[in-house]
Symmetry: C2
Amino acid sequence: MKKKGLLVVLSGPSGVGKNTVCDQLLTSYSNLEYSISMTTRSPRIGETDGENYHFVSKEEFQTMIANDGLLEWAEVFGNFYGTPQSFVDRRLEQGKDVVLEIDIQGALQVKKKRPDGVFIFLLPPSLQELRHRIKKRGTEDDDAMSKRLEAAKSEINTVFQYDYTIINTDIQQTADWIYSVISAEKCNVDRVGETLVKEVINGE
Amino acid sequence: MKKKGLLVVLSGPSGVGKNTVCDQLLTSYSNLEYSISMTTRSPRIGETDGENYHFVSKEEFQTMIANDGLLEWAEVFGNFYGTPQSFVDRRLEQGKDVVLEIDIQGALQVKKKRPDGVFIFLLPPSLQELRHRIKKRGTEDDDAMSKRLEAAKSEINTVFQYDYTIINTDIQQTADWIYSVISAEKCNVDRVGETLVKEVINGE
């Protein structure tokens, strides 16, 4: 019997480095699959449909919502972003582990639909370091920055709704921890105990 | 603040290869500490006190039991075997991860005292393979073998009292899975969430 893959949800406050860590994880561990989001915003230069995002019209997106075809979605500055469920499910059925890199609101939406996912929360080493990382991007003025950090503080408290948490100090190290978590979950008795015992005792 | 180490309990039916896997684990990952058992049996040729076992008299062992100084113990063919608690606790306090390689009865005793340990159950690839492994040792006649395999079947059903289970096909691979489990448990939100959130928010 083909074993189902794991749904791995990677989240954390904005600025923590989710995206960079996710890239490193997929580069280091090429057996993992990345879930490509769907969006109604226009492609930026260099972005490819089906690689960075699935680019769709607002009508297509609304139809997806109406058909319950998204694991999570949100509207940000008039654009829609979401995770198509069918792509994820197809890969999981094929036994592949699928990584979703999404913001905290999205992750908590997925948790309601898929409590059997593996939920990982990235923490910054400190709030000062988070401020430093956001500043380096150079996209926020001082006022926006203060709001971002206040938001991060309350976001950090959602960590207790996740299964695992990792302080993102070193990108490669964080990617390796995440892969350890995925490996460990494949030995979790609640997940695999019954199947394995049957295999061993009945030689199935 | 020094983080406490993890108590890792490695168990499984006899013949599954606990001992070999444990040796490989400690060779590959030298940061782990092995908990040395205490016994009243005489040292065999080549065995060193404090390395293979702590060899003690029956009186000393009885005193340990009376003082609740053992995490688990059993009498086998008139000899006593047990795990001294103080050694384990000292290492855990120092932040070291301590590996106990013990039989199923022992593991379940430890679980009652230390439910926060990480309990790992090794499974054989099949009952035929378990028979083959026991046979290779050449210590059992046919009748004893049948009893051993019957016992193994019911022992395997205790797997649901453990946290993780691994089919021991390849020794190095099993050791690597165990190390992944240990790494993952260090990111378990229930274990480290509160401490890490405090560290990040208060810069502690």
